[in-house]
């Protein structure tokens, strides 16, 4: 139990670091994309890369924010609470939304077609698994509440 709390504390810090790194990358994205694609801004490929990476970056921020909250609940030794259920459900919705956005990109744009199709399927699956986990935690929260109120 103590080790789990230590690990969640470390994971919370990692989530924070990743969020800051993601934000920094998003700020530097126009220059990174320009050097990566070897194309100036305003060209088709550059714009497609930029839109794809910005959208992915924003969704990553949202997922990391929810992960940080879940880790905080574990650190505070209250993993089975309504907040964890809400965060798991939100993360599931974000993952499904990201999958949908990537599917739209596959249809509309001409970059990362294979990779994006694979990732879209993967994130759709992860989203559904998170919904199951949210239901599981909701059940566990109800059991815990009943146990807490049994004298």
């Amino acid at each position: 139990m103590k080790n789990a709390c230590k690990l969640s504390c470390v994971m919370e810090i990692v989530a924070w670091v990743l969020m800051v790194a993601d934000l920094a990358l998003m700020i530097a994205l126009p220059w990174i994309t320009e050097s990566w694609t070897s194309q100036p801004s305003g060209t088709g490929l550059y714009d497609q890369y930029l839109v794809f990476l910005y959208v992915t970056g924003v969704f990553a921020e949202l997922i990391l924010w929810q992960c940080r909250g879940i880790m905080r609940n574990v650190t505070q030794k209250t993993p089975f609470c309504a907040d964890t259920v809400k965060r798991l459900r939100k993360t599931g919705w974000i993952a499904v939304a990201l999958a949908v956005v990537w599917f739209v990109f596959v249809l509309c744009f001409d970059v990362f077609k294979f990779l994006m199709s694979f990732l879209a399927l993967l994130f759709a699956f992860i989203g559904l698994v998170l919904f199951v986990f949210a239901a599981l935690f909701a059940q566990a929260t109800a059991y815990k509440e009943e146990n807490d109120m049994t004298i």
Partner: protein
């Protein structure tokens, strides 16, 4: 819930405070307070046994069934 806990009535009859009862029964003050204020969802037989022993009463003296108004 149609089950009413009359713990405060029995405590008053026995002239016993919540702290004293908590010490004698071995249940925390917070949990006993939850029980007294009808917030508990269930009572263990072991808890009921200890309360009845300390207060020298029957379970029926502590628990009361009240039919719902719409029944």
């Amino acid at each position: 819930m149609a089950i009413l806990v009359n713990l405060d009535v029995m405590m008053a009859r026995r002239k016993m405070g919540l702290t004293e009862l908590s010490d004698k029964v071995g249940v925390t003050l917070a949990n006993l307070s939850v029980l007294k204020n009808n917030k508990a969802k269930a009572v263990r037989f072991s808890t009921l046994d200890a309360i009845c022993r300390v207060l020298d009463c029957q379970p029926g003296d502590i628990l009361e069934y009240l039919p719902d108004e719409d029944e």
